[in-house]
């Protein structure tokens, strides 16, 4: 679509700009201010330059939780993306069953995050939880409260339970948008199901998958509530992720300066990843409009 140049459109955007600026820019500036000072209370703050940044970057605790964070985001993505695609492919396409499946799949998305934590806290406990009880019943020693590996697995399983639906629903709507002619042509060309998936469905899912990966990466990167409720970050620090470390630092220990510096680094990483995804998406959009303009 060719849009018209009109700078008056800014007036339409202004409410959003002001609203978001209020909630985003002022806090961001504050974080920057904190990150260069040593703050004891309102009236006792000393300028320390980039000292906190140096300290934070060299702090092994933070390096560990950053590493843990990447491992966590990586593993949930590695499970949720293929699983979500598979679920989307299996979903019925029409009728009452389609609606029902849709509602069932969406349930985990609409449960408050701490309730998600609670559900799994109960579900996975060895004494009163179905999952824990069954696993222990099978003779496997499982206790997410004591064993780091168990805790880690439980957190990942919880995330898969919680978020695979998002990927599945995204892919489902992406699949629905493929015109029938493609499937018909493939049948005529004698394509196998695998070939249909590889050459028709997957390429058409590229757009929604990028959005899905972006959302999932970001949300898992800032995950806080669910593991906090489930494991409280333990045992040890095995399930302590970035947001938890940060919150502990800022509110628990009131180390505002380092917390702010750390926030800035966190924010820059998020900015970089967002930009990479955004560029990819708009590049895809551009290809698509090119395609359309050819056809018209």
């Amino acid at each position: 679509m060719n849009k018209t140049q009109n700078n008056k459109a800014w007036f339409l955007v202004l409410p959003v700009f002001l609203l978001v600026a209020f909630s985003a820019i002022i806090p961001l500036m504050t974080v920057v201010n904190y990150s260069v000072q040593d703050i004891f209370d309102q009236n006792n703050a000393y300028f320390v330059g980039v000292e906190w940044y140096r300290e934070v970057l060299q702090d092994p605790r933070l390096q560990d939780s950053l590493l843990r964070q990447f491992m966590y985001s990586g593993s949930v993505l590695a499970i949720e993306i293929p699983l979500g695609i598979a679920v989307a492919l299996m979903m019925p396409t029409r009728g009452a069953m389609a609606s029902l499946t849709l509602i069932v799949l969406a349930i985990p998305l609409l449960i408050p995050w701490n309730v998600v934590g609670t559900i799994w806290q109960i579900f996975a406990r060895a004494d009163i939880g179905l999952l824990g009880y069954v696993i222990n019943g099978m003779g496997i020693d499982y206790n997410y409260a004591n064993n780091a590996v168990d805790a880690w697995l439980t957190v990942v399983l919880m995330d898969v339970w919680h978020w695979t639906s998002l990927i599945a629903l995204l892919c489902y709507s992406g699949l629905r948008a493929i015109p029938d002619a493609y499937y018909q042509a493939a049948r005529i060309d004698r394509a196998s199901n695998w070939a249909i998936f590889k050459y028709i469905q997957l390429p058409k899912l590229k757009g929604v998958l990028i959005i899905g990966i972006l959302l999932r990466f970001m949300d898992s990167f800032m995950i806080y509530t669910e593991p906090f409720v489930l494991t409280g970050g333990g045992p040890g620090n095995s399930t302590t992720f970035l947001s938890q470390t940060l919150t502990k630092m800022a509110i628990g220990q009131f180390d505002i300066g380092p917390a702010a510096a750390f926030s800035m680094i966190y924010f820059l990483i998020v900015l970089l990843v967002s930009w990479l995804f955004f560029t990819t998406i708009s590049q895809l959009d551009k290809d698509k409009t090119k395609e359309i303009s050819h056809e018209s």
């Binding site: 609409l110 947001s243 708009s282």
Partner: protein, 266 residues
């Protein structure tokens, strides 16, 4: 092939529903039963846990608080996102792409980064512990997504419809309400779904910005950990009650969801 598909989707549905079932199961048991015997369904069925919640104002007010700020957030989100999305979908203007990107980065920003300044910001303008504070804070995350979703839907409406309306003599507001909004009703449904979803499930900000008056249900649930240990039954009942509004919302927008989850960008 089709059978294998069905088995797969049934299996996955069971995986999704089982933990929820367990929660429901527990909500109908007494604490003694929960801790005492392991059973797949309540042996001594009881409503007692729900009674606790429905008779204690500090419990049920938590629900009202949550619903109040969630609705407030959805309304504010729609009101500001609709005109902005229209601008992005129809016009080119200085800085449009960068503004759009900047909006999206806010959706991606971790709440933990903003926690402390938020607390101080809303305290300093006297909004601490109000519903509007939570709603506004959640807008930081729901508005960018709403603009994005709506922009996708609006771009699929041909610009010629706008022009025809202007040629017919519609003023902009009248056109927008009478003609344009009905055309993107799916998009609005999906936007409401997403802003509801985010605001309803978020806890970190909601808890930080409230203390008594506007405390969300999710935060009140932490009370079940008392001196005598965790009150599992009430916790489960409270959890079950938080799931219901979500199911209602998804039921109402289910027909738009297939289209909408692609965020108008397939």
């Amino acid at each position: 092939m089709s059978r294998r598909k069905n088995v797969g989707i049934w299996a996955y549905s069971v995986f999704v529903l089982l933990p929820v079932y367990w929660l429901i199961n527990m909500s109908f048991k007494s604490n003694e039963e929960i801790l005492g015997t392991f059973s797949m369904w309540p042996q001594q069925f009881t409503w007692a846990n729900y009674q606790v919640i429905f008779t204690d104002p500090s419990w049920y007010n938590g629900y009202f608080n949550s619903i109040y700020y969630v609705v407030l957030n959805s309304i504010i989100t729609l009101l500001v996102a609709l005109p902005a999305a229209y601008a992005f979908s129809r016009y080119k203007f200085v800085g449009d792409k960068h503004l759009f990107f900047w909006l999206l980065t806010n959706r991606m920003a971790p709440p933990a980064v903003f926690l402390l300044p938020f607390f101080q910001l809303y305290s300093s303008v006297g909004l601490f512990d109000t519903h509007i504070a939570v709603a506004l804070a959640h807008c930081l995350f729901s508005v960018p997504l709403a603009v994005w979703i709506l922009e996708g839907f609006m771009s699929s409406v041909p610009r010629e419809i706008d022009e025809t309306a202007f040629i017919d003599g519609y003023s902009f507001p009248r056109f927008f309400i009478r003609i344009f909004l009905p055309l993107i009703s799916s998009g609005i449904g999906v936007t409401v779904f997403f802003s509801f979803m985010f605001s309803w499930v978020e806890l970190l900000l909601a808890r930080t910005l409230t203390s008594v008056e506007a405390k969300p249900i999710a935060a009140i649930m932490t009370r079940t950990i008392g001196a005598s240990g965790v009150d599992w039954g009430v916790l489960a009942a409270a959890g079950v009650l938080t799931i219901i509004p979500g199911i209602l919302v998804i039921y109402f927008v289910r027909n738009h969801v297939a289209k909408g989850f692609a965020l108008g960008r397939v």
